[in-house]
Amino acid sequence: MSILVIAEHDNSELKQATLNVVAAAKAIGGDIDVLVAGENCGAVGEAAAKADGVSKVLVADNAVYGHFLGENLGELVAEVGNSYSHILAAAGTVGKDFMPRVAALLDVAQVSDIMRVESEDTFVRPIYAGNAIATVKSTDSIKVITVRPTAFDPVAEEGGSATVEALDIVKDAGLSQFVSEELAKSDRPDLASAGIVVSGGRGMQNGENFKMLEQVADLLGAAVGASRAAVDAGFVPNDMQVGQTGKIVAPQLYIAVGISGAIQHLAGMSDSKVIAAINKDEEAPIFQVADYGLVADLFEAVPQLEEELKKVL
């Protein structure tokens, strides 16, 4: 078996999700190659070559891949991946965009968002917003798979010594063009891979009050998230949303503040190692999944939390 992992990156840095996907590839077993497609992405190729368990890194460096347009990546990956038994990518917005194109071009099914590998052709994945877990077997000769990164412990960043090969394949489908991008700038860790996440819900009442959470997050080196209710109410931007339709997170510690705990939200965070919840409603469903629950008014509790953390950290 031979597995092609498509690297997730921003042209300068390899994203940690790639290391999680390589871990999923290792669970399948076989030679693991990594494809880095981007523009001026040589450093990403070097980083991928150091990852534990990688045999070969293929670098397709061209302006047509610079913005990871699904039409171009789809054609590239379908051509390169044709000789592999498995093609894997992280189930982020880039992978979700181009991987089904790859599958369609190869005339195979895709298995989305796998959480576990049972064997080379059988995988476990959530359905119904995580309210049911399906074990799925693929009969296709090439398995196209997106991987839920938080479900696999990442392989070591260092230790490998893969060869790096430049690929001279330029696929410009001519169907789409990049226009612009607005990315939230933050010094805090990435929400999807942060070790600690502090999230606020509708109980925060407005966007201004999220500053309280940011102060706590900065003490802990944590990312800040939000429930869909808080995003829909316009308190914070949508890329902060944790839940089935937002980011799936599984940090060491998840602190839910003013979040009631709708199923939709729980589906995005219930794999966290430890969950702490602060809510003034003691009947809130979040307490049914929280390891530590504090029934309190968040506007009193969060400033106290900041003070207590300053004492112990």
């Binding site: 699904g70 895709q110 359905i127 074990t135 060491q252 199923i263 430890v274 929280a290 509790a301 950290l313």
Partner: protein
């Protein structure tokens, strides 16, 4: 310009999902069904394009058993002009759905195809992208804004870390994200009118597509449930537990 919208009949999003005791699937007997929420957003976007004078005709298509006609009628009541029902009682997987929709696209030649980004039952997030690949169209996935501009459509997409805008040549495929719009409710007069709108019925065989699922579901289980933990008395105890018991800070 003609717009094609695909809609799927799924379990109503308010219904608590229960796994069958024999682990063969989810219990759908006597459960309320509805249009997939992302598909409602797709219908709404098409109707708004028509109201702006951008779209001239909205064709809505659904694949599945006879009961799918309820969801097609709902879309017609919301403002779609006519419906196509591809009737089958078999399981239809994403690749097959994309192949069936491709045949409809070849027949209808829409300038824009709008679908939900995923259905809330199988959560695959595949059909729109597969359809785009099979028809050689560009794709604007996870759309939060759609602006048609001559022979192009600009789509703002919800991506990890923010928003990204792409320009696609028409015809193109768009898949909707939650914040694209807020769907309206159908009015009673429109529900009555929808009953008279044309609805074509065809089979996968009529479209030259053979259903051949590539994935088989071996079992479906309920997720491992988390146990509720303890209530702490105050913030000091919470911090103490996190530091000394859970050792996570």
């Amino acid at each position: 310009m003609k717009v094609l919208v695909a809609v799927k009949r799924v379990i109503d999003y308010n219904v608590k999902v229960r796994v069958k005791p024999d682990n063969t699937g989810v219990d759908l007997a006597n459960v309320k069904m509805a249009m997939n929420p992302f598909c409602e957003i797709a219908v709404e976007e098409a109707v708004r394009l028509k109201e702006k004078g951008v779209a001239s005709e909205i064709v809505v298509v659904s694949i599945g058993p006879k009961a799918c006609q309820e969801q097609i009628r709902t879309a017609l009541a919301l403002g779609a002009d006519r419906g196509i029902h591809i009737e089958t009682d078999e399981e239809v997987q994403s690749l097959e759905a994309a192949k069936l929709l491709k045949s409809v696209v070849e027949k209808e030649e829409p300038k824009l195809v709008i679908l939900g980004k995923q259905s809330i039952d199988s959560d695959n997030n595949q059909t729109g992208q597969m359809l785009a690949a099979l028809t050689g169209m560009g794709q604007g996935t996870f759309a939060s804004e759609v602006v048609v501009d001559g022979e192009n459509v600009n789509v703002t997409r919800e991506v990890d870390g923010g928003l990204m805008t792409v320009a696609l040549k028409l015809p193109a495929v768009i898949t909707t994200d939650l914040r694209l719009n807020e769907p309206r409710y159908a009015s009673l007069p429109n529900i009555m009118k929808a009953k008279k709108k044309p609805l074509d019925n065809m089979s996968p065989a009529d479209l030259g597509v053979e259903l051949a699922p590539r994935l088989s579901t071996l079992k479906v289980e309920a997720p491992a449930s988390r146990q509720a933990g303890v209530k702490v008395a105050d913030v000091a105890e919470l911090v103490d537990k996190l530091k000394n018991e859970a050792k996570v800070i």
